[in-house]
C-alpha cells in the first residue's frame, strides 16, 4: 500500500482498496461466511441439545437497544481514528517527511540503500580513525562491522545499530566521515543534495 500511495497518491489508493472490498471481498464473504453451523442446517458434532437455555436478541431487538448503538459507534469511532492516523502517519513518516528535510523524492528502498552505503562509508572511516575499537579483543565488534560492510541493504545496518545501542557502544551513525563522534552532520546530510 505504501508503494501505491507514493505512486498514485493516497486518494486513488484508498478508493481502489474500497472498490476491491466492495466488488471482491464483500461478495465472497457473503457467499462463504456463516455465523453458525445451524445456518447451514448443521449441528456441532456430538451435541443434540441446545448448548444454552438462552438465545440471543434478534437483529431488530438489537437495533432497538441503546447498548448496540453505543458499542457499535464506539468501535466505529476507533476504526475511523485508527485508519486515519495509520494512513497519514505512514505517509508523513515516509517520503513526505524525507522531502520536508530536503531529500529528493525517491522510494524508501532507494533511501535505505543510500543510507546503508553512507553508513558503511562512515564505518570504514571510523575503523581507520579509531582502530582500538576494532582490535582482536573486540572480536564481536569487528565481526559485526565486517558483516555490515558486506551487506547489500539496510538490515545489517539496523541490526548493528540496535546491538551497538544496546551494548552502549559508540555508533558511526553519530560519527562524521572523519571519524569524530557526535558530528552535527546527520547521516542523511551526505546525500541531501544527491551527491550519492
Amino acid at each position: 500500500m505504501g508503494a501505491a500511495v507514493l505512486k498514485f497518491g493516497w486518494r486513488p489508493t484508498w478508493g481502489a482498496i474500497g472498490w476491491v472490498l466492495l466488488i471482491v471481498v464483500a461478495p465472497i464473504s457473503w457467499l462463504l461466511i456463516r455465523n453458525q453451523p445451524e445456518d447451514r442446517g448443521l449441528e456441532l458434532d456430538g451435541i443434540s441439545e441446545p448448548a444454552s437455555k438462552f438465545t440471543d436478541l434478534t437483529t431488530v431487538e438489537a437495533l432497538r437497544s441503546s447498548a448496540f448503538w453505543i458499542f457499535a459507534l464506539s468501535s466505529s469511532l476507533f476504526g475511523l481514528v485508527y485508519s486515519g492516523i495509520s494512513l497519514f502517519k505512514r505517509i508523513d513518516s515516509g517520503a513526505a517527511r524525507l522531502q520536508r528535510i530536503g531529500l529528493p523524492r525517491r522510494s524508501s528502498d532507494q533511501h535505505h540503500a543510500r543510507a546503508a552505503r553512507e553508513f558503511r562509508r562512515r564505518l570504514s572511516c571510523h575503523q581507520m580513525a579509531h582502530p582500538e575499537a576494532y582490535r582482536p579483543r573486540n572480536g564481536g565488534t569487528r565481526c559485526l562491522a565486517r558483516h555490515v560492510a558486506a551487506g547489500p541493504d539496510l538490515h545489517p545496518v539496523l541490526i548493528y545499530g540496535a546491538i551497538m545501542g544496546i551494548a552502549g557502544g559508540s555508533s558511526p551513525l553519530y560519527s562524521s566521515p572523519s571519524g569524530d563522534r557526535f558530528s552535527d552532520a546527520p547521516i542523511w546530510a551526505a546525500f541531501k543534495d544527491g551527491r550519492k
Binding site: 493516497w10 486518494r11 484508498w14 438465545t55 464506539s74 468501535s75 476504526g79 485508519s83 486515519g84 497519514f88
Partner: protein, 63 residues
C-alpha cells in the same frame, strides 16, 4: 459494516479537515470529545437481557 464504513471515511475526514483548517487539530479534538461521551455512555448504558429459549421437553426435564 459500520466499522468498515467509518474506517473508510476516517482518512477522508482528516484530509478535508487539513484542507479546510490547515491542521488535523479540529477533527482530533472533536473525536476526543465524542470518545469521552461514548465512554461515559457505555459505562452507564443498560445491557439488554437475554431471553430464555423455548427448550425442548427432554431438555426441560434435565433441569
Amino acid at each position: 459494516m459500520m466499522t468498515v464504513f467509518a474506517s473508510a471515511v476516517g482518512p477522508l475526514l482528516l484530509a478535508e479537515t487539513l484542507k479546510a483548517t490547515g491542521s488535523y487539530n479540529f477533527m482530533f479534538n472533536l473525536l476526543a470529545v465524542l470518545t469521552v461521551i461514548l465512554g461515559i455512555a457505555a459505562w452507564f448504558v443498560r445491557m439488554p437481557s437475554r431471553k430464555a429459549a423455548a427448550a425442548p421437553a427432554s431438555a426441560v426435564s434435565a433441569y
